[in-house]
Symmetry: C2
Subunit: 125 residues, 2 copies
């Protein structure tokens, strides 16, 4: 514990290089629950199967069975993923007899998808 200023190889320095910038950046961080919700939203979007589901639902509303057909996944897998998307408020659904017909919950999803699409298109230039 002696020689305090020399034994922090992996810790980097305890004090910041640019204290002002660190303070400014720290203030800009979201509170914990907001940060958690943000991560949840993006977590819902990071799986290829869920992205396919959302892209499909951008075009038209679909029941679970048809979503399975569109994505090429099993009905069970789709149902599990829809549960995630429902919990994140990214999709909504209505019952139609024995079927459950899903649709996008709001337009934020479309914007998120289109922005990400723009990004990947741009970096290919």
């Amino acid at each position: 514990m002696s020689r305090r200023s020399h034994d922090r190889s992996a810790e980097c320095r305890a004090f910041a290089v640019d204290a002002a910038a660190v303070a400014e950046a720290r203030d800009s961080l979201h509170d914990e629950t907001t940060a958690r919700s943000l991560a949840d939203v993006f977590s819902a979007l990071c799986d290829p199967t869920r992205l396919q589901i959302l892209t499909a639902l951008s075009a038209t509303e679909l029941c679970v069975c048809d979503l399975a057909a569109v994505t090429g996944s099993s009905q069970s897998a789709v149902s599990h993923q829809l549960r995630v998307l429902r919990d994140r408020n990214l999709v909504a659904y209505r019952r139609d007899g024995k079927r459950a017909v899903y649709r996008l919950a709001d337009d934020h999803v479309r914007v998120l998808l289109s922005q990400a699409l723009e990004h990947v298109a741009e970096e290919r230039a």
Copy 2:
């Protein structure tokens, strides 16, 4: 293997309920490389530590050491995450002596963050 039409409990039906909707949705899906890139972008955004990094960089550019201070993570962890963000073209950096100063790569990141933020704010109403 007989009784072909009765033993597909988990497979759901092989033909779609709403063939037209399925065809329309299927056409709207992105090609495989685009889908992969989209998933990569959102995968980069779904980790709390990386979200903190990007939020911090929305305010000001920062070196690795200061990012570690802002996020409360180790320098190694931040460096690993920055590698992910670099590979996804979400951040860029310049060398300044021994330091590496990182910044957001483009404005798509800001839009993505703000849209997700709007979404989580809205569903709390």
